[in-house]
Structures are given as C-alpha cells and as structure tokens.
Symmetry: C2
Subunit: 468 residues, 2 copies
C-alpha cells in the first residue's frame, strides 16, 4: 500500500525577519532583502526545487502597538515592520516557477469581497490555478485605527463578517459565469455570451453585491481556502470553510486530539474528514550530529530579542507584556493567558525559566514545535507526527532565510522522498494547486464544501437569488 503522502508549505512574510524577532542580525539571514524582486524569485525557485506545495505568505496590515501602548518597540526590533504587501510579489514568482503554489493572506475585515474576488481571480489566471487564500479576520487594534474603523471589531462580528464575505466571493467565483460563457465568436460579434453571465444579487448583513463578477472563470474558480482558527469560533469557521487548516500544539498527543477535533467538526458541517488537509508548523534545526543541531538551535535563540518577541506576543494575545518583569519566573506570573501560552516552560520539570528565557526560546518560529537533529532524525520525527497525529503536512518555518530552507530541502527532503512519503517530482497532472492537494481532477471545490452550493450545475441561479 502506498504510504500517506505529506505536503509542505514554506512559511514567510514580506518583512525582514517576521517569525523569529531579532534573527535579522544573523549573518546568514537575507530577510532584509525582502523588498526586492530578486529575493522572492530566489525563494520561489528554492521551494520549487524542494517540490513544496505552496509558499505561504503571512501578513498584518499595520504596526504592532500593544507593548507599552506604543509602536516603537515593534519598529526598533523589526516586529513585522517594515511589512510589505503579500499579493504584489506573486506574479514575479509565478513567472519564475511552474508548479509552486502561493497562499497569500488577505483580511476579510478591511476589504470589500467584490474587490478581493477580483484580485484572486486575476492571480488564479496568472498562475494557471496555483493560488490559495489564507483567510484572516485581523486582530490588531492599529489595523482598525488606520483602516477606517475607530476600534477593533469584536471577534464574533469579525467572524460573522468573514462568513458572509466568503459567501459573497463564492457566489462571484462559482455562480456568476458559466464555464462556456466566453466564446469569442466573431461571426455573431460575441466575445462572451451575455446569457451565460449572471448577477449574484447578494443582499446580506454586511454586504450588498449585485454582481456580475468582472472576471471569467479561472482554472480553480475559488482559490484553495487556507485558514488557521485556534479559538472555538475560529475552529468552527475553519472546519466549515477551510480546505487546508493550521494547528499548533507542542504535545504530539495534544496535536492528535486537535486534528481529530477539527475533522469531527468538519463532519458535523456535512463535510468529509479528509476534505481538510491539516498542517502543523515546525522549525527544523539541522546538524551533522544532534549536538551540532542543538548548538545551532542555541545560536539562533541567542539572536532573538526579548522586547521584540514580547511586542509580537502582546499583539497576538492583547496582553501588554511590558507590565511584566522579564526576570521573574514564568510560573510566578498570575495571568492565565501567559500560563497557557508558555505552559511548556511553566511546567518544565527539568528547570525553571525566567520570562525572558522562555520568550526568547519560544520566539523561534513564534511558538512552533522544533525538530532538532540530523536530517534522518528530523525525517523520523516528521514521519512519527504524521503517523500519530494524522496531520497531512507541515508549514516549515525558519531560523534564517534562505539558509534554513536550503538545509531542509537539500538534506531532509531527499530522505522523505527516499522513504516514499513525499513526491520526487510534481505530478504531471497537477495543473492546479487543489489537484496537488486532493488529487487528479479535483480542480474545484468539493461538492460537500459550502461554496459548492453556488455552483451553477448544482442549482439554478434563480434559486440562489431567492436564497440570498
């Protein structure tokens, strides 16, 4: 029997050293070149060499300002600032590659669905169907203040808006243009048959969008939907909409429970357990020997700055870390959220951790699990995590770019390939990203996906209009 095949995404952001604050100081880190096209083309070619599924591009829209109620700590330590637009680098990378997918992050809180639908349709055409959308609702108050809201929308409302936002985009992608609408018939002077292009007539709580979509059907129509939902609300949202979902848990058994929970929730939504690819995030730290890898790990951690990482976590949690003495022990901090975030340090039976030590250690890959060791040991761990936790793949985070990825692709990937759990080359049929993830012919949303109820063959357009 063929072994379960794993999927890999590169994990990056258009910023100098966004997921290991302080690593910009490392001699091997080229992240400060992120403002150039050459940087992105080089990375895209590297990931395609490694036969990765996608390059995942995280994003925020404004500057972290929770730490000390000021943006200055974030600015000093390059805490995802500068942060450039994730969509605008994609066409250069698509030109330099043939198979690699791209999963940029776009918020549902600060844009209009009609325009976002247009952007993803443009990209799906340009990349020949290699586009995913990482759906986020945005959590920073600075985003709200700079982008037209006085304050952050409450979380429930953000998710309600996201739910309707996706509905609007599904309608535009799936129900506005029939497959054979564009006929380019010179004899009848018809580029597009107008009777095969439909209004969507969406009327809802957050949006009124009559349509029609302004772009003809792209290879995938709907981009592959990526989502990371950690809260209960977030998990329900992900299990409804996401085709690839991200889960982080430092305990392998905990991760197994999380994966089971997500698949269970998806089933409750009428989907199949396997309709979601579940990814967890790891930072592989590779050496010729375990000792060498552990030394590299310590070297990376030495570059991480406490204040910068604390500013990042202040944004993630909404808790201002500047109130804490960094030299106190983690287990002495009487804030539940801190105990929960840093539980592996608070409960470490082998030693005590100061807040500074814990945060610096935690900061590599912002809390990701580390796989530290020889290439073979890392391949072993990858296999074990797939077997025990039933994850489908990994977001690969980094210490330094591109060095960490070069190491992983040159040393670990060949072992995974040798073991028959990872593609040796891209499948010739995988013309679209969705087919790479779900198999031949799976260009479009599965029938059990909520977006599929808007497919034109599924039910006629006038029923959709009545529903909405």
């Amino acid at each position: 029997m063929k072994k379960k095949q794993i999927h890999l995404n590169g994990f990056i952001q258009n910023s100098p050293a966004p997921h290991a604050i302080g690593l910009w100081k490392h001699d091997k880190h080229e992240g400060a070149k992120h403002s150039t096209i050459a940087y992105w083309v080089k990375l895209a070619r590297l990931f395609e060499k490694g036969k990765f599924d996608t390059l995942f591009i995280a994003d925020v829209l404004a500057t972290y300002s929770e730490y000390g109620n000021d943006y200055k700590t974030a600015v000093q330590h390059a805490v995802q600032v500068p942060d450039h637009d994730p969509l605008l680098v994609i066409s250069a990378m698509a030109q330099a590659t043939n198979h690699l997918g791209f999963a940029p992050t776009v918020s549902t809180t600060y844009y209009q669905p009609y325009d976002v639908a247009r952007k993803f349709s443009t990209l799906d055409h340009l990349t020949n169907g290699r586009i995913a959308w990482n759906v986020v609702t945005s959590y920073l108050s600075s985003e709200a203040k700079n982008l037209g809201l006085n304050e952050r929308m409450p979380k429930d409302q953000r998710y309600n808006r996201a739910d309707e936002f996706l509905d609007v985009t599904y309608k535009l992608w799936e129900s506005s243009w029939e497959d054979d609408a564009v006929i380019k018939d010179k004899a009848t002077n018809t580029y597009t048959d107008p009777d095969k292009v439909h209004l969507i007539n969406h009327r809802g709580t957050f949006f009124n969008v009559p349509g029609p979509h302004i772009i003809e059907p792209s290879p995938q129509r709907t981009p592959v939907i990526f989502q990371a939902g950690a809260s209960n609300k977030g998990r329900n949202f992900a299990s409804k909409h996401a085709e690839a979902v991200f889960v982080v848990n430092h305990s392998l058994q905990g991760l197994a429970n999380d994966v089971e929970d997500i698949r269970f929730r998806a089933e409750k939504q009428g989907r199949n357990r396997k309709d979601l690819k579940v990814f967890t995030m790891i930072v592989p730290v590779i050496g010729e020997t375990f000792k060498e890898a552990e030394e590299l790990h310590q070297e990376l951690i030495q570059h991480i700055t406490y204040e910068g990482t604390a500013a990042l976590l202040s944004g993630h949690t909404g808790i201002d870390f500047s109130q804490f003495d960094p030299d106190q022990h983690v287990e002495d901090i009487e804030t539940d959220a801190i105990q929960s975030l840093l539980d592996i340090y608070a409960k470490d039976p082998t030693r005590e951790w100061t807040l500074r030590e814990a945060i610096q250690h935690h900061g590599l890959g912002i809390g990701s699990v580390r796989f530290i060791g020889t290439p073979t040991q890392i391949a072993d761990e990858i296999e074990q995590w797939v077997d025990v936790a039933d994850v489908d793949g990994f977001n690969i985070a980094y210490g330094t770019i591109p060095n960490s990825y070069e190491d992983f692709i040159n040393k670990v990937v060949p072992i995974l390939q040798e073991r028959g759990i990872y593609r040796k080359d891209y499948d010739s049929y995988s013309t679209t990203l969705r087919e790479r993830l779900f198999g031949k012919g799976e260009k479009h949303l599965k029938e059990s996906h909520p977006g599929s109820k808007y497919k034109l063959h599924y039910k006629p357009i006038y029923e959709i209009a009545i529903d909405s």
Copy 2:
C-alpha cells in the same frame, strides 16, 4: 540648443480589447491573452525596447451597465469586461525590465489611503522607483453598488475625498519615516531607530489615520502622480496634484489652449508651469504609404462594434445610448453632451455622419486623435503637436496589441531618435521614473508640490500634527 525631448507612455488595460471595442476580432490582436504572465512580460520588453517612459494601465472596478440599464451589452462586446487587476501584473514585468516605468490606476473612492500607500510603497521598492499612480475617482454606478456604497458618490464629494486621500498618503510617504531611520545596528539591537519613525495623526472629514506608515522610505517615496481631469473640478485637482496630466483635444489649437489652461492653473496653485508634464493621447496608424495607412485605419474601424462602443460611452457620459436610433444623423440628436462629444462629426463640412458611423469611427482609441500616414508623416505630426501645443509627450493607444506598438516602436521611434527629440537609450542616471520625467536628482516631489509640505526637512512633524 537641445530640442525639447518628448515622453511616451504605452496605454493599456488588463482586458482583451479595452480601448477599441470589437478589435478583439482582429487576427493580429493578442489582447485575449491578457490573463497570462507571458503577455505582460512580452509587452513590457517591447516598451522597454522602445525606450518608453511608462506602461500606463487604465482600470475600472465593475461592469459597464448604463447602456439599456444592463450589463449584457458590455459583456457581449468585451467592453472592459473581463477586466483584471492592474497592480498584480507589475512585479512580473518589473523582473523582465530595468528601466520601464509602470503607471497603474487606483481609485480614491473605494479604498483606504493607509492600504493604498502600502501598496505603492511595496511597488516602488520592488521596481527600484519606477512607479507612478494614476489617480481616479471612479465614475461607474456599478462600482458603487458592488463596492459598499448604495449609489455613486456625487462628483464634488468624490474629488473632496480624493484630495484628502492624497493628503493622507503624502503624510505617510513623506513624513512618517526619516531617510536614515533604518540603521540595522546589531550592536544596539536596532533594525530601525524608533525615534525616526513618526505618527502622522491625520484627522479629517473622510479619514482618521494615526500611522505610522508600515513601510520604510522607497526610492521615490511618493509615486509619480498621474491624473486626467477633464471637468473644471478635475482640472483644478490635476493642476494641484498631478505631475503628469492627460488632455485630449482633436483640434491642435484647442489642445494648445488646454495645455496653457492647465499650466496657468498650476501656477495659480503656486507651482511652476513646467512642474507638470502634459500628455495627449494618439492612435498612430502606420503604412508604407499614406494610402496604405488609411486602408489600415478603415480596416481597424470596420472591426469596431457600435453597440459595444455605445455601451462604453454610456458609462463615460452617463447617457444611455440605447435610446438613440443609430441610423439618425449626429447633428439631429438634440442632446448637448452628444453634440459636444461628437462635435467633429456633427460639424464635419465634408459629409454627414450617422450616429453608428460616428461612434464606430470615434471608437478607435476611445476618441483619441489619429496620426495616420507613413512613419515620417507621423513623426512630423508628433513634432508639430509638441511645437504648437507645448505638450510634453503622448500616450500611445493602439488598434491591435502588440502589432500596433511593434509598428510604432520599429518604424516611428527611430525617426524621433534621429531627429534628436527622443532618447536613444535610457539615461544611466535615471534610476527612478521621476528623474526620467524631470531630470537628474529629481527623485522626490518638487518643493512646490502640495505633498512637499509634509517632507520632514520642510517642517517639523509636530507642526504637521497641529495643522492636520
């Protein structure tokens, strides 16, 4: 004395045949490939071969629906639908070129200035300072209905919003980050000196934006501002903000008056007459002989469809052309706006024009002036128009893409170069688009430009905060 040097922009849109409706049927027209990266890379290389200043990318955000109060005519005739995003093709073109500038269109009515500022800063970095912004306020009611407004914002309000929108972006680009803010000083653990990154604290009628900008200064900081303002309000806006402005007039003397008017208005705003580069739009139609060129002109016009062009003009004018009998004579239509739009046909002393004939003829380059003849004749006309009307350059429109541009670049450009009125190569110092337009060292907004009052060396940030 060195002759006045002319500037050239390619004029295009991310759509099959957007400025000559029906030309998609022409065998030499490759516009239907606009959804591919190869199309854009080929075009960018062609324009760079022609030493053009920029590729100008027009845009609309939704589907023309004024003709018969329906989108179907626009859809049938590919009237700027499909229409893909203009920003997302730029990085692929930038990768394939070294000098060509890019002038995409972005509306001030449907976006947030904080986000638009980020997108242009990203692109200015990626292109090494080759970015312009064609500022539009958007005129289609379908855009309003699909993008969060119930109806089109009144024109005055659109321009007031645009004025404040630009103010916010100037503040973000010019006053938020000091030139030497990014220091990457490992010794002090400082990527960016936080005391050199400032809030903008903008509080206005349409926007409240505290800042800071999320991107460090790009080569030009503010992109080169392009604008086309035809109305009185539009001309005042352009003469205040634009560094390159577009004017169309079929009469050479009329154009001369328009150019003088724009320069006069700029002077009234405290700018210099030469701080604006004035462009007019032409469609060059080229033959070995004048007769051959005129035959090609007729052939192009035969491909233009009446209904499609009428649908386009219905959107531009807000007048539903479906109410008119296409076979009536233009001079018989008792609508002032039609008489004004089609005055060269209504007043033609040599013949009568039916509405159908006039619209089809008008449709090539949507009302642009044609220069028809041999390469030498066209070069003569270009020179004459520069001399008489004092224009600084031309937006070059097309019949077919890329054929029209290949003809112009291979046949007319060498004559202009030979005459010493157009660059034989890009100047080595022109590292930025603004320097290409205004000369060595002119990387940034001129001091007389309204955005310059936010430059940090110009007045201290605390005064800006008090002003705003």
